[in-house]
């Protein structure tokens, strides 16, 4: 029962809980803090059994005091521990962003490298029809703040491997888990269903080319990888070959892999479930254009959540977030235009 998910009927929240358990067993320095992560096993079930296995001191149910326990992570890290912090929804991180960006992110630098901040923050993000204050991904905002790594897995294999790598990292990492994934079975995903039986990590900052194609590079991450793959299938029948790249992390951003691909395809479409402006999609377009020079690129395009709060009504949410249809039409437009 050592968490080898291969073939088991397990959902992502169980996989996450098992992964944390494996890491906590491996490294007795890991302390896990958050609301409802202990006795109840997590609001999304992503920490089930850990309280029983590791006890209240290493798996700590906190009061609703995010500012306080995010700051605690700083002290724990300086004391030589390895804090794992759950912020239930990433939307709440505004309550405690100060210690995250001014201490967790900066202490290594401000101390001239003498202080390590091996802090991992897990938080749920993404749109599942739960309105403006519980639907954000915010990785674009977090990625802007130097000193933080920002990760968003798309499939079972990576949910485990990226989380393990984040926890193991000497650097602070924020992992945004998609709420839509938690209750899905690992076997239901279109990729990454093979989960090695031993411990493994997926290196932070290495994109994954999940589909090859010659006409268009589609870079994306998290749940949008799946939607993009579905669109790519359809486009294939139209004779459009789409190379789909799962970025896996926003920081480090593997623009090299994307640039290599665009050097071949000539076209870049970024699909992002975060707000459009001042985030991932603009950065990636800019880097690729800088890397290749604009004249080499035939077309760039971005499909992301528009710059508005997520509306409550599911019918409206569906109007605004990227989906297979919108990916299809964005891809067709960019390919058609030259």
């Amino acid at each position: 029962m050592s968490g080898n998910g291969a073939g088991r009927q397990q959902n992502i929240s169980q996989l996450i809980a098992e992964t944390i358990g494996m890491e906590m067993e491996r490294d007795p320095g890991i302390v896990f803090l958050g609301e409802d992560i202990g006795y109840s096993g997590g609001t999304f079930g992503a920490s089930r059994d850990l309280f029983r296995r590791f006890g209240e001191w290493r798996v700590r149910d906190t009061p609703i005091s995010e500012m306080g326990f995010a700051g605690m992570a700083v002290g724990l890290a300086m004391s030589g521990w390895r804090p794992l912090v759950e912020i239930m929804f990433v939307d709440f991180i505004g309550v405690c962003l100060e210690p995250v960006y001014n201490a967790i992110a900066k202490n290594r630098y401000m101390s001239g490298g003498r202080v390590a901040m091996p802090v991992t923050i897990r938080a749920a993000g993404g749109c599942i029809g739960v309105a403006a204050q519980h639907s954000q991904t915010l990785w674009g905002m977090l990625a802007h703040l130097p000193g933080l790594k920002v990760v968003a897995p798309s499939n079972p294999h990576d949910y485990r491997g990226l989380l393990a790598a984040s926890i193991e990292s000497e650097d602070p990492v924020i992992v945004i888990e998609h709420k839509d994934a938690y209750l899905r079975k690992t076997t239901e995903f279109p990729l990454g269903t093979e989960i090695p039986s031993g411990r493994y990590t997926v290196p932070l900052g290495k994109a994954n080319v999940v589909r090859r194609g010659g006409d268009l590079t589609l870079a994306t991450l998290s749940t949008m990888v799946e939607k993009s793959l579905a669109a790519a299938e359809v486009l294939q029948t139209d004779g459009i070959g789409v190379e789909v790249i799962d970025l896996r992390s926003v920081v480090p951003l593997d623009d090299a892999t994307v640039t290599d691909s665009v050097a071949r395809t000539g076209r870049l479409l970024v699909v992002d479930e975060d707000y459009l402006s001042f985030g991932l999609s603009g950065e990636l377009v800019a880097r690729v254009v800088e890397n290749l020079g604009p004249t080499v690129v035939k077309g760039v395009s971005r499909l992301a959540n528009p710059d508005l709060p997520i509306p409550a009504a599911l019918s409206l949410e569906r109007e605004v977030i990227p989906n297979e249809d919108r990916i299809l039409s964005a891809a067709r437009t960019i390919v058609a235009s030259g």
Partner: protein, 349 residues
């Protein structure tokens, strides 16, 4: 509008008159009867049940937080609460909206994300806004309190004798905002009542494990503020204590902190498996701590009304909510174009 509110006669949410800057004296001159409160509570229970119906059908998603079991806290506010007072509530907000006079139909329509909803379906069940009835919500725990503080500050700026009610759960008192709000309200002697619904849990976390000290009400002392704890399953007790809290705040004495101890009958949200509370405890809670049962028994004991009258009140209230739900369900959702409206008031040409 009245046909649409919770069925309280107008004087029960004291109306300050059109100017909304009342000179009217403090107090419960229009005290609701216990039967009035019962009607309100039955309406609340029916309303929550009508919300719950949207979950199995998939009409509603997300963390729908219902408050069955906590009706006495909300209904206890009727009377002392005035229509020109401001109220800021939490994720568990429907009962508070009801006692504040937010029209049931627009509220239900918002919860069901219809075009006739308070926000045309763009806010949803944790983001109710009704400026006409001076009511708003935030889904972020603790953040209701500074907003209420802002209203209380505005009351002072306005030189009015309106007050603000900031509501939070027990869990919310552990946020920094609780401290900052209590302190600022106290130093500026603002007319603020902080009402804490202590239902013993913040999701799965028991209040006694995460709240240090003698209790929540006692924390008022740290700010030199008025503080009191009350049995939140007893609407009469709540009403008396809430009126005192309001009297304190409205009287210019600064903030009042009222802790109402109560039970949450359902899971934290619809879908919560609620495995962190023992079945036997949950059963006892419903058997012994149901504020509706308590009031019903008391009404009969007092002999002011009989079973028939009570049954009438119940069926009328339930019928009204049922009709509203039906009407809401027949109403369409918002137009697609709504998604792109209301981000900014002004967009550059």
């Amino acid at each position: 509008m009245m046909g649409d509110t919770a069925g309280l006669p107008p004087e029960h949410t004291q109306d300050a008159g059109p100017a909304c800057r009342p000179e009217r004296a403090t107090g419960m001159s229009n005290a609701p009867t216990l039967l009035d409160r019962y009607r309100l509570m039955v309406t609340m229970r029916a309303f929550e049940e009508a919300c719950a119906q949207g979950i199995p059908t998939g009409e509603l998603r997300g963390e729908l937080h219902l408050a069955d079991g906590q009706e006495a806290v909300a209904a206890g506010m009727a009377g002392a609460l005035r229509s020109d007072d401001w109220m800021v509530s939490t994720h568990r907000c429907h009962q508070h909206a009801i006692v504040k006079g937010v029209p049931l139909e627009e509220m239900m329509a918002e919860i069901y994300e219809r075009v006739t909803g308070l926000s045309r379906g763009k806010g949803g069940h944790v983001h109710l806004f009704d400026m006409e009835h001076r009511f708003s919500v935030t889904g972020i725990v603790g953040s209701s309190l500074p907003v209420a503080l802002g209203h209380a500050y505005a009351c002072r700026l306005d030189n009015s004798d309106s007050i603000a009610i900031g509501i939070t759960g027990d869990g919310g008192t552990n946020t920094g905002q609780f401290h900052e709000t209590m302190n600022m309200a106290a130093i500026w002697r603002l007319p603020l009542v902080i009402l804490v619904e202590n239902n013993h849990y913040a999701i799965s976390v028991p209040a006694e494990e995460v709240i240090a000290g003698r209790g929540i009400a006692e924390r008022a002392e740290a700010y030199g503020a008025w503080g009191r704890r009350v049995d939140g399953t007893d609407v009469d007790e709540v009403a008396v204590a809430f009126a005192q809290a309001v009297g304190h705040a409205r009287g210019g004495n600064g903030p009042a902190l009222l802790e109402a101890v109560c039970f949450r009958f359902r899971g934290h949200y619809e879908g919560d498996i609620d495995h962190y509370r023992k079945t036997v405890v949950k059963r006892r809670m419903r058997e012994e701590g149901d504020p509706l049962t308590i009031v019903r028994r008391r009404l009969l004991e007092r002999g002011e009304v009989d079973e028939t009258e009570i049954a009438e009140v119940e069926s009328e209230a339930r019928g009204r909510v049922r009709d509203i739900l039906q009407k809401v369900r027949e109403t369409p959702g918002p137009d697609a174009v709504e998604a792109f409206r209301d981000v900014f008031a002004e967009v550059p040409a």
